[in-house]
């Protein structure tokens, strides 16, 4: 049976199952969500109003036996950036949607009766929309438990905690992973969009699907084997990531002088050794736990982990570099166990670790808490943000809004979204990605750190301007295409250095669908996606003036290299010349 579009109307509390229009047929993941958002959402709409839509779409290879193909994309207009957003996540959802034949799940409208929240259950040929007053005011793990009891241990779950219900801009949407832990559609305040539609959780039936079909299964198997081997043989995806997780980056980024610390005042942190991936791996070894954990089934990289306390009790999983940086280096907490406790709390509440962490780093400048005070950070999240007190609402509005409310100048955001764990002044290619991506400051949109710092895909000096715009452009085009396949972004490491990797990925697409894509077609897909997203943003009122770094980075030199942001507007705007 051909894939279908499942369309849910929250105003009418009804659904339709539609054929996939021809021009959407070859799209998946980000390519599909951005195309649908651009086609169906008024760019001028209020992101929390009736005319925004949520579009969920598995990648083109999701549901297949291809390694690392389990990423699911969510598109909408972001209430944080005011522009288009695509956020993708692991977990079990992408594979299950694909096997059920759901090409995309589109959710539109807002219920007229907004006194309660709803649960949407998607199964083959059916969607149920039921009120769930018993889940209102509960957080993610409670919802997960309820849904596992109601259906099965395998049911795919997407849920929001209290901050999402309160439509806070730091809220995310959490997704069940294969071990019953949580992953997140982290960025852009998409939890608030789900909250605005009065949806507490979405489940997808995992019992009555069929396996996806292949136009040429022999060819698919052969290509899949080469692709898996490329992931396993690569020193980063095959060895470094499973051994140390993404947190292995703390030391190298710190050593390069690009680890933002003290709300982006220096590029080094005195806490690096206390919070780094090597220390984390030592703790895991001593205390039990596991350095390897896949965020989705079929993952052969296993960069995630299970992290226990000194007594061997579970503290957190999916304990990632970005989160550890935000709380450890930028906010200054030097206790990895306390950072893990905060991580687990934020998972349960459904908070974007980057937005919340950077916001608390800025809150030090606002004298709301002291640098390094992890206990107070925990309390602010648990007792203020989660409860929606006035202070919680202020912090829950994100870094940009906190800066405005307290009259602060050193506010590290692009398009109102917090800058992640790489200093744009000292890792200039990454800075170009932050300012130009239609997503707002986002590290995954075009990971120039690979070539600026990690010697992947060659080397472009991070401290010089030369070659950075071209580097970021090429990476953003490739990332937009990869985000459409359902592939984890870490396939980029072998793809940058192993000539067998990308052709195998394209061969899998061709064998799955009986098509004959070339490398150029894939590049063109990436270009089209970026241009579609950019056009949406321009219609939404964003301009080139939004493709800029915070001004303080232009006049404040960042130690240890004492570098400023020195790109001219013309140099930045050259990015879009393709």
């Amino acid at each position: 049976m051909a894939d279908k579009i499942y369309r849910v109307n929250m105003k009418e509390l009804s659904f339709k199952i539609e054929d996939v229009p021809n021009h959407w047929m070859g799209l998946g993941g980000r390519g599909l969500t951005s195309t649908i958002v651009a086609a169906e959402v008024d760019p001028e709409c209020h992101p929390l109003g009736p005319n925004n839509k949520m579009v969920f779409a598995p990648g083109l290879l999701s549901g297949t036996s291809a390694a690392n193909s389990g990423r699911n994309s969510l598109g909408a207009k972001s209430p944080l950036t005011g522009g288009i957003k695509e956020s993708n996540v692991g977990g079990t959802i992408a594979g299950i949607m694909a096997k059920l034949g759901v090409k995309a799940l589109i959710i539109e409208g807002i219920p007229e009766d907004n006194s309660t929240f709803y649960h949407i259950h998607v199964s083959r040929d059916n969607v149920e929309i039921v009120q769930v007053p018993e889940l209102v005011g509960k957080d993610n793990y409670f919802v997960l438990d309820s849904m596992e009891k109601k259906y099965s241990k395998k049911v795919a779950v997407m849920t929001i905690g209290r901050p999402g219900e309160m439509k806070m801009l730091v809220s995310n949407i959490s997704v069940r992973d294969p071990k019953g832990k949580l992953r997140s559609h982290g960025r852009g305040g998409l939890g608030a969009v789900m909250g605005s539609k009065k949806i507490k959780c979405i489940t997808v039936d995992a019992q009555n699907y069929k396996e996806v079909s292949y136009e040429d299964s022999e060819k698919f198997k052969a290509a899949s084997k080469i692709f898996t081997k490329a992931l396993q043989n690569n020193p980063i995806s095959g060895e470094g990531l499973p051994a140390f997780g993404t947190n292995v980056l703390v030391n190298i980024v710190n050593e390069a002088g690009g680890l933002p610390s003290r709300n982006f005042r220096t590029g080094n942190s005195e806490n690096a050794e206390a919070i780094c991936g090597e220390t984390m791996a030592e703790n895991i070894k001593e205390r039990g736990g596991s350095t390897t954990h896949g965020c989705h089934s079929g993952c052969v990289i296993q960069c995630s982990q299970t992290y226990n306390d000194k007594d061997g009790n579970y503290l957190s999983s999916g304990f990632e570099y970005e989160m550890i940086w935000a709380f450890g280096a930028n906010l200054g907490i030097n206790d990895l166990d306390l950072i893990a406790k905060i991580d687990a709390l934020m998972d349960d509440l459904g908070l974007d670790a980057i937005e919340m962490g950077v916001c608390l780093g800025l809150a030090v400048d606002a004298s709301i808490l002291k640098f390094g005070d992890g206990k107070e950070a925990y309390r602010l999240i648990k007792d203020e943000v989660a409860k929606g007190t006035p202070m919680g609402r202020i912090l829950g509005s994100g870094t940009g809004n906190l800066g405005k409310l307290y009259g602060l100048v050193r506010v590290p955001v692009v398009k109102n979204q917090s800058i992640p764990a790489y200093e744009p002044r000292a890792i200039k290619g990454q800075g170009i990605t932050y300012v130009t991506t239609p997503m707002g400051a986002d590290h995954t949109a075009g990971y120039a750190v690979a070539t600026n710092i990690l010697n992947s895909g060659g080397f472009v000096d991070p401290l010089k301007k030369d070659g950075q715009v071209e580097l970021s452009r090429n990476l953003q085009i490739a990332s937009a295409a990869i985000d459409s396949t359902g592939m984890c972004i870490f396939v980029a490491f072998p793809a940058l250095d192993d000539p067998a990797c990308l052709p195998a990925l394209i061969d899998m697409l061709n064998a799955r669908f009986g098509i004959s894509l070339t490398g150029d077609d894939v590049t063109n897909l990436g270009k089209t996606i970026l241009k579609t997203e950019r056009a949406f943003n321009l219609k939404a009122g964003l301009t080139s003036a939004d493709d800029r770094i915070p001004e303080f980075m232009k006049y404040e030199a960042l130690p240890p290299h004492n570098v400023k942001w020195d790109f001219t507007n013309e140099e930045i705007d050259e990015f879009w010349n393709f």
Partner: protein, 80 residues
């Protein structure tokens, strides 16, 4: 020209296994990172060199180390 130079050596990720995190060592003037890589037994067959920094800047193996330099060695690593 047989003066000695003081070098701070930093190792990361798997390079720490059976070695050290950070050490101050004395070398002969003219020593290159490649000499130290050989001395540490880092080879192309197992965990080849990923990134080499001197004083927080990327450098090549042939760079001539100077008095007081900090040399940092990383195997191929990544994340994000």
């Amino acid at each position: 020209m047989s003066e000695n130079i003081n070098i701070t050596l930093k190792l990361f990720a798997q390079y720490r296994d059976g070695r050290f995190k950070v050490e101050k060592r004395v070398y002969k003037s003219g020593t290159t990172p490649q000499n130290i890589i050989d001395e540490l037994g880092i080879t192309k067959d197992k965990l080849p060199l990923g990134v080499l920094m001197v004083n927080s800047k990327h450098e090549k193996e042939e760079y001539i180390l100077q008095e007081g330099d900090t040399l940092a060695l990383f195997p191929k690593i990544g994340g994000g």
